[in-house]
């Protein structure tokens, strides 16, 4: 059951993460075409090899996003997919593409997420801003969130993740230096990633703890910085992988778990869906946590990384703070985590934020991670987190 490991990532592309984007503006269709072209060039493959497309919602069209994009790119595809799993979307895209390829319905799927600003609309629609008002929380009439989250101010992401951290603290204690170390170590990794929003701006544990508290116990430097960017990943079958100029990163395991939209209704706020997702990925790949050379966990907040390491089995529940304190999480360290800086160090380019983790896992296996390249990297665990740690995906990548 599950993936046989016959589909691989062979090409990746990403835009530099920029807090204030001042370059030329393009629509999502245009950015998608550009990212696709770059990923094909990276892989050494051709547009005519593509017969699958995997996308998110696009700003230009409320419906028919895959068709709009395929038509714009001039693609005829056998697999057309849109994924709507928040931060878990990129990882969710990759395993869906791999599954479609293993079924034999397509040979090469482009998974791309544009996240640069689009041109300013001369006829602005007020609804666009309303939608962004509450972040991931829907204020549409009839949405349970509009009635039972919004009036109490539990909106967007910060308050939910803060409550997960508070619950964790009540059950397991709370070492704020351990949590801050996650941000500091990842910021250190970002110093070897010129595309990172915080390149040239290291931050120590003390810097993190000296930054303002936004929602107890979360400091602002434990929360991702939104930025512009975008990313693309090309997933292909074995025959095309053999033609690619990169070392293929085979997708040998995957898992996904969704339990709710608001974290309020999860059975246990401190045991997150990434547990079952990672266990599925490990079982499918025939691997265990000790076999993993690099972990690229989704990191919207420091608590997200801590719970992901625990629930994925790298340490026991409650031992995460001790674990991150005792290990060096940098690319020079004994337990490398988010070697590109993660989203905490590199910035969060919207839904493409989670794609950065897929891209970095693939680059480490390809041996193309520049100054932060690990001396040996044959296996990577990549996770995605959407909602308020309520929908999560995991994949295992292995070098071919």
């Amino acid at each position: 059951m599950g993936l046989k490991g016959e589909a691989a990532i062979v090409g990746v592309a990403d835009y530099k993460n920029e807090r204030k984007y001042t370059g030329p503006r393009h629509f999502f269709t245009e950015q998608f075409a550009d990212l696709t072209h770059r990923a094909l060039v990276d892989a050494g493959l051709d547009k005519n090899d593509l017969d699958g497309i995997c996308c998110t919602a696009i700003r230009e069209a409320n419906m028919f996003a895959p068709a709009t994009l395929a038509e714009y790119l001039g693609l005829k595809v056998n697999f057309a997919e849109i994924v709507d799993l928040g931060g878990a979307t990129p990882v969710g895209m990759i395993w869906r593409a791999a599954a479609a390829i293993e079924m034999g319905i397509c040979q090469a799927v482009i998974c791309a997420i544009p996240a640069r600003p689009i041109p300013s609309n001369p006829i602005p629609s007020p609804t666009a801003d309303d939608l962004r008002f509450y972040g991931s929380t829907s204020a549409n009439w009839g949405s349970p969130q509009a009635e039972f989250d919004v009036p109490y101010g539990n909106v967007a992401q910060n308050s939910g993740y803060a409550m997960i951290a508070q619950r964790y603290a009540a059950l397991h204690g709370y070492d704020e230096r351990a949590l801050a170390k996650i941000a500091a170590d990842q910021r250190s990794n970002a110093q070897a990633n010129p595309n990172a929003a915080f390149y040239g701006k290291p931050a120590s544990i003390d810097d993190v703890l000296a930054s303002p508290v936004i929602a107890d116990p979360l400091h602002i430097l434990e929360i991702v910085m939104p930025c512009a960017g975008g990313g693309a990943v090309l997933v292909v079958d074995k025959a095309l992988a053999a033609k690619s100029k990169n070392r293929p990163a085979y997708i040998t395991g995957c898992g996904e778990r969704l339990e709710s939209k608001s974290m309020t209704y999860q059975d246990d706020m401190t045991r997150t869906p990434v547990g079952p997702a990672s266990q599925s990925a490990f079982a499918m790949a025939g691997k265990k946590p000790a076999d993993i050379d690099v972990v690229e966990p989704y990191d919207c907040y420091t608590i997200t990384v801590l719970l992901t390491l625990e629930d994925s089995g790298f340490c026991a529940k409650g031992d995460g703070m001790k674990f991150v304190t005792e290990h060096d999480l940098t690319y020079n360290g004994d337990f490398p985590v988010n070697t590109h800086g993660g989203q905490l160090g590199a910035g969060q380019a919207g839904l493409a934020g989670g794609m950065s983790q897929v891209i970095e896992g693939a680059r480490q296996i390809m041996g193309k991670a520049d100054d932060r390249q690990l001396s040996r990297c044959d296996t990577a665990l990549v996770t995605g987190t959407g909602g308020i740690m309520s929908e999560q995906s995991a994949i295992i990548l292995e070098g071919g």
Binding site: G153, A162, Q166, A170, P212, D216
Partner: protein
């Protein structure tokens, strides 16, 4: 902080035909919860079908509203523009003794009162919009 005379009005809920009895109950200072006639489990938020067995045999029952803080945060920056001026917001998830959890605000409290596991009871907040919100306060 966070007393019940609201100087800033949060965005109000707009009840649906399904949720109306819950909000009407709050207006009368009653906490109404749905219980499934088939599996006997409690359901929150209000639904047409039981979230445990998908039965549509849901009955409204009045409950005491006694429960405890499952978790909380003190939002020191507004969580969204409409909450500007309400910070620090004492946002919490409360678990009722029936087992259901709900988002809320802890009223009539100080920062040091906020602890996971603290017993709470309902605090019905009538707003100038004629809508009643369900806050909680220490029991």
């Amino acid at each position: 902080m966070n007393n019940t005379s609201l100087s800033v009005l949060p965005p109000m809920p707009h009840p649906t035909p399904t949720t109306e009895p819950f909000w009407q109950g709050l207006a009368e200072e009653k906490l109404m919860l749905q219980q499934c006639d088939d599996c006997k489990e409690w359901v929150f938020y209000p639904r047409t079908h039981c979230s445990h067995c998908l039965s549509s045999n849901l009955e409204w029952q009045q409950v005491s509203g006694e429960g405890e803080i499952y978790s909380f945060t003190i939002a020191r920056r507004p969580t969204a523009p409409p909450f500007a001026g309400m910070e620090p917001q004492y946002i919490a998830v409360v678990q009722l003794q029936e087992g259901v959890r709900m988002n809320t605000v802890i009223a009539n409290a100080t920062e040091s009162d906020l602890k996971v596991g603290v017993r709470v009871k309902p605090c019905f907040v009538h707003t100038p919009d004629a809508q009643t919100l369900l806050y909680f306060e220490l029991a």
